[in-house]
Amino acid sequence: MGRRIAATLRRTAIHAVPTVLGIIVLDFLLLQLMPGDAADVIASESGVATAESMAMLRQHFGLDQPVLTQLMNFLGHLAQFNLGFSPRYNMPVVDLILQRLPGTLMLMVTALAFALIIGIAVGSVMAAWAGRWPDRILSVVVLLFYSMPGFWVGLMAIVLFSVKLGWLPSDGDMTVGAGLTGWAMIADRLRHLVLPALALASFFVAVYARLTRASMLEVQRQDFMRTAQAKGLHPFLIQLRHALRNALVPVTTVAGMHLGNLLGGAVVVETLFGWPGMGRLALEAVLARDFSTLLGVLLLSSFLVIVANMLIDLLHAWLDPRIGAA
């Protein structure tokens, strides 16, 4: 296992550097194609400008430099592990991102955990009762979640749980200014996390449930299942140890790929719930043409996806030792 981790790390590192560099250069050049710049945005937010104030802003933002110089500056900073400075927010990009990163990670990990736990549980139940009424009913529910956009599920959840019942808060990641500490603070954070995480997870629950059901049914027909039954194992243990464990390989593969999607889907959910995450930061950076911030977010997101894929690789090795290090 130790050799395996080392090999995976080495391979990931070799892949990651050129991938990230390519992403950065491509993103940078694509962003140049967007009409307008950061100074235009600031002037239009103010609704007023003079030629002098525009020139001052452009100089402050470094926009008076040629594009190539701007790119070289950015890459130069990056080589020193410096994500640069956001003139719009008047702070280093890395601070800006680190403020948001925990929020986004918490939301993503919780949503993914919800999606996997609920999805796999529902999928297993559907597979165990395939073709009978629990399967039929759950299929309909799953189809519903599969076809409804997450933000709508979120809005309806807000209307029900926050407005009508008043059980859960509708915005933010904590009760601002309440000065809570200890368990009260953790409970408060969790209460704020439930609705956005469920809204973000709803679509993926459906995906994993269907995937688990299909792969478990596939596994049921394998020879080793018959052997296990012949050995006289308890049916529940057969399902759990033999069927589910084998069925998890495709589910985890897809979940790894979904991490990128989750980052994207988070923009909508974060906006809806006023959640201070990176998705909103990225969206605001696009609208504000704050490219240093945006490139920082993109860089970190690609890094996250690469790391997640590496973890999935390792998870596969644990689930199915036959999958070798290529």
Binding site: S46, A49, N90, E284, R289
Partner: protein, 533 residues
């Protein structure tokens, strides 16, 4: 036309003011203010900096004055009242302004506030503030004969200056923090120090700002609340819900979608207020590019004007929350507004005839010409309004294609590339037409690459002379006459068609009192606000 529009407007206004009266304002003024509590106010978007020094974007304006105060505050009619200055006088020639400052005022870091800060702030605003460069253009120097006296010397009179001194428009900055630094990069923008009733505590990006009561405020009775929380809620639906489930106390300048208002008005705990929005009125207009092959013809512009029904527009697009406006100077600016209706009344036959005369007959498909309409995406009514205009103009054979873009792309297209024909746009009038209106019509302000300059490329020497004259005219009667004549000329020549002036409501929970006591309402320092238990 006049007879037709009056009932609509009056009905809309009456409806709104009735609501305002229902909302316990009498109670607020008679009851004893209670101390303590936390006020939560919500904003659509996050400010980029917490001091309105290098930007006048609404999110920054809304929070700035809580910490950083101004020399004066203003009543609803924009008459000045003391704030950091307790007395002021203007010399008869209008070129010397003398301010006596409030004694014993301290910044939050303990340093005293003196006339040196005033002098420094005005010079700083003159160089880095988006409007300060114009507002203070005539400032020769600011003399400081003693620590509590500041004298502004002007090269020419600036009759608008005395109305420009609110906290958000002309913030009094701490000289000891800014001197010798880059004002755009100064950390004070992220963690401000000022003289205001609230001290900055924390700013969690993407979430909220917290202000704490300043126990050493120069008025020992104020402020009344312990804490103020400003939350950013970018989703309009989420903002309505925040008012509904009481997690938001107050929101400013129409914080929710117009379509949600009717539902929210049924909730007994909410109050809708029109006070405290008179410092800056907006006028929304259909602005032509006079270099366009179609709209360079006066007759085509007249035809467009004849085809638009402003009353219907307000009723359908704005749900009634607007006032018909024929002039680039908003009706709210009573000292300058000319209420004469447009000479071009709703008349489709006349419009068709004008287009025929201009040489644009209806083609085989009944269309005279096709033209793109760009709209300013700030404000959620813009797209609906553009669609309304498309429908209106299709009736006279002009095929309009509505083109969407985000704000940066819009500004670049209109003001830098000038690759547009006409646009639905909005301008803030502010407290005086010289500051808010002149820029749109003055030929010397046709500047490529400068947003919200003279985007039509309008040139009329007579208009230039009137605007330049009014900018330095000391006599209010003569000054008004100049603006009225200006309004007559642009109403005839229509480089743009003013459509309406939006009505901004402040929405608040009924437990909030005394929040909007000045012309700039929630944008002021809110030192007197208090909350029911």
């Amino acid at each position: 036309m006049t007879a037709k529009f009056r009932p609509t407007r009056r009905a809309a206004l009456a409806g709104v003011s009735a609501l305002a009266f229902m909302g316990g304002r009498g109670y607020a003024q008679t009851a004893t203010p209670r101390k303590g509590g936390t006020l939560t106010f919500i904003q659509n978007s996050e400010p980029q900096t917490l001091v309105a020094l290098t930007t006048v974007a609404t999110p920054a304006l809304t929070v700035s004055a809580k910490v950083t105060e101004g020399l004066l505050e203003y009543d609803y009619d924009i008459k000045p009242r003391p704030l950091l200055a307790i007395e002021w006088s203007i010399s008869p020639d209008g070129k010397t302004y003398t301010f006596k400052l409030r004694p014993n005022v301290k910044f939050h870091d303990g340093k005293p506030f003196t006339s040196a800060d005033v002098a420094y702030s005005i010079q700083l605003l003159k160089t880095v503030h988006p409007r300060g460069r114009n507002t203070f253009a005539n400032v020769l120097e600011v003399k400081t004969p003693d620590p509590l006296t500041a004298v502004i010397e002007l090269s020419k009179p600036a009759p608008y200056l005395i109305r420009a001194l609110t906290a958000a428009e002309t913030p009094m900055m701490p000289r000891h923090i800014y001197e010798g630094t880059d004002p755009l990069g100064n950390p004070n923008g992220n963690a401000p120090v000022g003289t205001g009733p609230y001290k900055f505590k924390e700013w969690v990006r993407g979430s909220h700002i917290i202000y704490e009561r300043n126990a050493d405020y120069w008025d020992p009775d104020l402020p009344r609340i312990d804490r103020m929380v400003c939350k950013f809620l970018p989703d309009t639906g989420a903002r309505s819900i925040a008012f509904e489930n009481k997690s938001a106390d107050i929101g400013y300048r129409m914080p929710v979608a117009l379509s949600d208002l009717e539902r929210l008005k049924k909730l007994p705990h909410l109050e809708f207020e029109t006070d405290g929005t008179s410092y800056s009125y907006n006028v929304s207009c259909l602005q032509f590019n006079l270099d366009s092959q179609y709209f360079k013809h006066l007759k085509v512009r007249q035809a467009v004007a004849h085809a638009i029904n402003r009353e219907l527009l307000i009723k359908t697009v704005c749900y009634g929350y607007g006032t018909v406006c024929y002039s680039p100077i908003a009706p709210g600016l009573k000292d300058f507004h000319d209420p004469t209706p447009s000479p071009y009344t709703l008349d489709l036959k006349k419009a068709e005839q004008l287009l025929d005369e201009a040489g644009f007959p209806r083609g085989a498909d009944k269309i005279r010409f096709r033209v793109p309409l760009d709209y300013n995406p700030i404000g959620d009514e813009s797209l609906r309004l553009s669609e309304f205009l498309r429908a209106s103009l299709s009736r006279i054979g002009i095929g309009v294609e509505v083109r969407s873009a985000d704000i940066s792309a819009f500004v670049k297209r209109v003001y830098t590339d000038r690759a547009f024909d006409f646009t639905y746009n909005g301008h803030s009038n502010l407290f005086d037409p010289t500051v808010g209106v002149q820029r749109i019509y003055w030929s010397k302000n046709f500047k490529k690459g400068v947003p919200f300059s003279n985007g039509s490329h309008y040139e009329n020497p007579k208009v230039d002379a009137l605007l330049e004259g009014a900018a330095v005219e000391n006599d209010p009667v003569k000054r008004k006459a100049m603006f009225v004549e200006f309004q007559k000329i642009v109403a005839e020549e229509i480089p743009d068609i003013p459509l309406y002036s939006p009505l901004f409501l402040t929405i608040k929970n009924r437990r909030v009192h005394d929040d909007s006591l000045t012309a700039d309402g929630v944008e002021a320092n809110m030192s007197r606000v208090w909350l029911d238990a």
